[in-house]
Symmetry: C2
Subunit: 195 residues, 2 copies
């Protein structure tokens, strides 16, 4: 029982990486299996369909994001520091050298946006929750009076997300070195307007 879960973790870890580069659809059982040095059928047995694999990959990714970005932010002092920490961690996540394929959520969002099924449902739920987490953190900064009392926190969350997407685009497609500075400048302007 314990061996099975162990290899399943190995599979999901690798799949999670590949999916960032090739998408959930481009993730194939063959490449995944041979890359892990095991047989396609042996791998397949851990999931009962490809859709189930895709779903579990998204679940894995969400857990990783939680521990790599959300958790450190929540550990920071509530209010503005927490919001800054979130943005910092998120930027780092988007171009993590350990994940040279890019952010799986961006890839999955584009791929699943008009295809229904369990993977899409999960992704949408996770993204909604993330958005609300951002807004909630922003609200703590309103509580500490670091941000305007009448601030629209959902709007702020939207704009933060937009900056992250813009950063990803410039970094990954255009391969510029500026986008981090651009993203930080945009974030600073966002906070200035929210103060």
């Amino acid at each position: 029982m314990t061996k099975g879960l162990e290899t399943k973790d190995r599979i999901l870890d690798r799949a999670f990486r590949i999916a960032g580069r090739d998408g959930l659809g481009g993730l194939t059982l063959s490449t995944l299996a041979t890359g892990l040095g095991m047989s396609k059928s042996g791998l397949f047995a851990h999931f009962r369909s490809k859709e189930e694999l895709q779903l579990q990959v998204l679940e894995t990714a969400t857990a990783r994001f939680q521990e790599a970005v959300i958790a450190p932010a929540v550990k920071a002092p509530r209010g503005l520091p927490r919001l800054r920490k979130l943005f910092d961690g998120w930027l780092r996540w988007m171009s993590d050298p350990a994940l040279p394929g890019g952010c799986i959520f961006v890839a999955a969002a584009v791929e699943l946006d008009d295809r229904d099924g369990k993977p899409r449902d999960f992704l949408v739920a996770a993204q909604r929750q993330l958005r609300e987490t951002i807004a909630r953190i922003a609200r703590t900064a309103v509580d500490t009076q670091e941000l305007r009392r009448d601030l629209d926190c959902e709007q702020l969350a939207f704009e933060i997300y937009a900056i992250i997407l813009g950063y990803n685009h410039d970094k990954r497609l255009l391969r510029e070195d500026r986008p981090e500075a651009r993203a930080r400048a945009a974030f600073a302007r966002l906070l200035a307007d929210a103060s």
Copy 2:
């Protein structure tokens, strides 16, 4: 000679639409051919490889964007009106009911961002040029003194692009109805800070 180009246009028109939904990789010769009521081999003969088809699809898309978004903007009075017109047209482009599959550039950007080849090269060049067009239009608004003299127009272009990406994400994945209002609010704030 004229008949061939005519059907080629029909092919590219349909391919351009499909690629927005399924991506350039998900665009398949079979579905494209049967959807057009012609044979796979007959279609294939117009391009000599799938990569060539993908490239020409991107070229078609760029021309469409040019006439649907850029041209109307350039026709508007220079300065702020032109910049607003660009943003308006772009928002409309991103959720054009005639293109229910979503923006092909967003799909292609994610798909090609770490795969090289002619399609990627073309896309990158087109995106760079688009970015510069935005910055140039912003510069006209600086010239008319509608925007700050010390404005960083490339930064402005980056942030406009980010807003568009955020709009696309919320509209297509989350399927919210608010994102247009959110995008416009973000754009208004952007202009306010640039004035």
